[in-house]
């Protein structure tokens, strides 16, 4: 059963062969260039591409002087140039982990006439369990915007009561 309240599917036709998309995803120096938006710097700590392999990134908001944890997870399935599945509910070697945002991402790459059809399906916990993620805006430099947005939204709710 799909749940529109806790699941996302994002698809793009990427104008590059699958080998380039695969390299951009799986090679550290490439991955660090797009995973987090500029000017925040991304560093890959672990990218062990096999089931049970660790996946960890860190981010720096001060130009690379200090880094803090970003994503910590575990790969569940790797099919070269076709499919990457990872979850943040486990870390390296299947060790259970209680992340600040539980998700499983299913990435697929298919040929599409010399280009690549790229799909990311992202599964989250159901809505009730996701209440705590209200505070999760402090990721990827959205902090200020979302702080303000939350304030506006809270005021809005207060007005209506």
């Amino acid at each position: 059963m799909t749940d529109e309240h806790s699941e996302l599917t994002i698809s793009r036709t990427i104008h590059a062969p699958r080998s380039a998309v695969w390299a951009a995803w799986t090679e550290r120096e490439h991955f660090e260039k797009w995973w987090i938006p500029e000017p925040i710097k991304c560093q890959v700590v672990m990218m062990d591409l096999h089931p049970g392999g660790g996946f960890a990134t860190r981010m720096s908001e001060d130009g690379g002087q200090t880094f803090k944890p970003h994503v910590e997870g575990c790969f569940l399935e790797i099919v070269p140039k076709e499919r990457i599945v990872f979850t943040t509910c486990l870390t390296e070697n299947w060790r259970p982990f209680d992340p600040w945002l539980a998700l499983t991402a299913i990435i697929t790459m298919e040929d599409e006439g010399g280009h690549t059809k790229y799909t990311a399906r992202v599964l989250h916990k159901n809505q009730e369990e996701s209440r705590k993620h209200q505070e999760m805006g402090f990721e990827e430099g959205w902090g200020t915007t979302l702080e303000q947005l939350d304030k506006v939204a809270v005021d809005l709710v207060a007005q209506r009561q």
Binding site: A20, A120, H124, H133, V152, D155, L156
Partner: protein
């Protein structure tokens, strides 16, 4: 779904500016004329009107003209969407996928030159 995320992207872009956030905060208490909204800001009216235009295009506010006065008011629906955590996640993954697409494309063109 494409429209949904595109409109959400617009909302987040609109919210990325301190002047526009201040305008939104002010409108929470009710409709305000453009003239009154502009007063606290040290910028010319044409620049301020650009900010109003961005907010209108992102569907966060609307305005109506009565006589010589244009009044702005909040449209809470779009704001509520952007506030929802899944909306934020969608915007995040959409932007991330766009960056990957762009990066892979440039990677492929570099490799074909070699």
């Amino acid at each position: 779904m494409g429209n949904y995320s595109a409109s959400l992207d617009k909302a987040f872009r609109a919210l990325s500016d301190p002047t526009r956030r201040a305008v939104l905060s002010r409108l929470i208490n009710g409709p305000v004329s453009v003239k009154e909204l502009a007063e606290p800001f040290e910028m010319g009216l044409p620049s301020f009107l650009k900010h109003i235009k961005v907010l209108e295009n992102s569907d966060l506010i609307a305005s109506k003209k009565e006589g010589r006065t244009r009044t702005c008011y909040l449209k809470p629906k779009q704001l509520a969407k952007a506030e929802h955590w899944l909306g934020r996640q969608r915007a995040l993954w959409e932007a991330r996928t766009d960056r990957l697409a762009e990066y892979a494309r440039s990677l492929a063109s570099k490799e074909s030159v070699k």
